[in-house]
Homo-oligomer: 380 residues x 2
């Protein structure tokens, strides 16, 4: 600490470090990844699982901890957007009070979808000013996006993630077999985040999706090329997140697809999954980019073809330009008064726009609507 | 980011840096410290003040922002322990929603006592995953302790600071003139934290307190030697906090006086100020230290004389050994299962004890009680 005549300067270098680890067969006795950083006598673990995990793995999880002599409290929490509330947050704080854990060597374990890991990591970050936590994503959205970064959050009074924090996990454990039981809609929900990365920064990932996307979706990513896509998506995502882990720089490529989607999610509630809102945002953005000559028609059609090939059916009826505009305004406030909208500049490259106007959004929506009518007419 | 066969390692060096700055005449037009990091067009500030600040400075504050063309929303929040609640926290979140501020260049400003800065810094840390904040302590407790570190928190269901975070402020502004209007009891409340530092790590600070403590308390620290004491206390405190800013190491000298005080505060509610509970903890600790031959009787008497000279009247009737023991157990849980109780090893030096037993606390309380009876008999 430096003391000057009239001030003290407090300086501290904080090292953030965590591993995102592939760890198959997570509940096998021999796999001790879930017990990180190790088990001492009378150790305890507070474990939160969602209802899907409960259905398929509750007994395995109970046995796993029992066999290792760890007293585990297992709490079930359905990982749905409606549950991403202050009430859920407070419920877990109370449950923790009722099951005291050590502040450092008994990490909270969150096994479930993105909502569950978001809520539980916020609990972990603010309980006793932070206790460690381990995340185990069980959805594709969690696997390639929500769980591998450090964002935590809950919704509050109609605002998504209004309360939250940046809290590094102790570890993220990836077991792809969870994806086997995922409904197709939720598989695609995660694919949309992969498409986002492909368009905005990773043309190779786009090629992989074009060649092996369909096969991987059909195989719930249990296939070999599914692995390749997931690995590349995670690497690509972490490459963006790592140097800007606390979002000190608000100009972020990974915000592509996350400008208009914010409002879409609020207005459509649980009818629209996060990834679905992101994909709708992406196609509106692509239209705007095309109109600004940032994309050629050929590039645009390449993405529509990918969407089509993956068996994705777009419901563009929710695209209300006023909602999208309002969402852009909210995000502008969130981005410190500047739009900072990531846009493709050719596929695989990114520019940031700060001057998008309402009429561009209107034109984009109209063009999308005409396009659907045309396609419909073509099919009859 | 390093990608290995089966894992990704995310590494990030985060630089934490903030200044604690003496800034007299804070509301003078010429002093722009409160407008940090600067004023752009249509800038806004969300300002929280306590009722005492309102009483003396509300008009000055309003004028200050008005003269600088900043739209300020000023919210009054009495800085009392009973207000350190979830309800207060949520109230501020709603107020922020109703007065949108930029996420980076319009810091929240908290002007008040330790409770106010603790609550508002927690709001700032979790609103939109953190917006910047500036702290202006107006009590001695805030000046030398609560406001200069990065701890935030609110009480929850009878647990002190159960919810909170570590959140560096953008700046801490010190204007000693706020202390002028502080009731004597609250001046002493801050002095107890200075005594804590003196005993556990800073024998020079102890000498300063012995020589100039009384004069400084009487002068509400507006005297020259009051400045010297405050400067040394802040330096001494920051010296401890800075290298362990996030409490990665739970073995902390500054926890001296903060083991038994936790339970005392809970059991006595608003009858006992934080510093008063700390002082009671200190004297119990000193008795234990003496019984363990960590302190001589002479050293013990030196502290009792200082307490006496400063005009402090101790109410030891609240010292229930069972409450103190329960508090130690709670703190042990908080300190990851190890007591880690800081104790003086001679005045100005520190050791950590992990094996304090109930009977030592009982003996200490009994000895204190006998001592008071003796003193009472001496005075009649």
């Amino acid at each position: 600490m430096k003391k000057h005549a009239d001030k003290w300067r407090v300086s501290y270098q904080r090292t953030i470090e965590y591993d995102v680890v592939r760890s198959p067969n997570l509940f096998d006795f021999e796999n001790t990844a879930l017990l990180y950083p190790g088990v001492a006598e009378n150790n305890r673990r507070f474990v939160v699982i969602d209802d899907v995990v409960e259905k398929y793995y509750a007994d395995d999880i109970r046995n796993f901890f029992k066999q290792h002599g760890v007293e585990a409290k297992i709490v079930v929490f359905p990982s749905t957007e409606e549950n991403k509330t202050l009430e859920s947050y407070l419920y877990f704080v109370q449950e923790l009070d009722a099951f005291p854990i050590h502040r450092r060597d008994e990490p909270i374990i969150a096994i479930g979808g993105g909502v569950l890991t978001d809520v539980i990591s916020f609990v972990a970050s603010s309980y006793r000013r932070s206790v460690p936590h381990i995340k185990v994503p069980t959805t594709l959205m969690g696997y390639v996006d929500a769980s591998i970064g450090i964002k935590t959050g809950i919704n509050f009074e109609g605002h998504k993630n209004r309360l939250g924090s940046f809290e590094p996990p102790l570890k993220v454990l990836l077991d792809k077999s969870f994806l086997k039981t995922l409904p197709k809609r939720h598989v695609l929900n995660g694919v949309y985040e992969i498409i986002k990365l492909a368009i905005i920064k990773d043309i190779e990932l786009l090629a992989l999706l074009e060649e092996y996307g369909k096969e991987s979706v059909d195989a719930q990513f249990q296939n070999g090329m599914g692995d390749v896509i997931l690995d590349r998506a995670i690497s690509s995502m972490l490459e963006e997140l790592e140097p800007n882990l606390y979002e000190d720089d608000l100009t972020r490529k990974v915000d592509f697809g996350h400008t208009f989607s914010y409002g879409l999610e609020i207005y459509n509630g649980s009818d629209l999954l996060h990834g679905e809102a992101v994909l709708l945002d992406i196609i509106v953005s692509l239209m705007i980019a095309r109109d600004r000559d940032l994309l050629t028609n050929l590039e645009l059609e390449r993405i529509f073809k990918l969407i089509d090939d993956l068996g994705i059916i777009l419901d563009i009826s929710v695209l209300d330009p006023d909602v999208l505009w309002e969402s852009l305004e909210e995000r502008t406030c969130h981005r410190n008064g500047v739009q900072r909208v990531p846009m493709p500049d050719g596929l695989g490259n990114c520019v940031f726009l700060n001057d998008i106007e309402l009429h561009e959004i209107q034109t984009a929506c109209q063009a999308l609507s005409n396009r659907v009518v045309l396609e419909y007419e073509r099919t009859i």
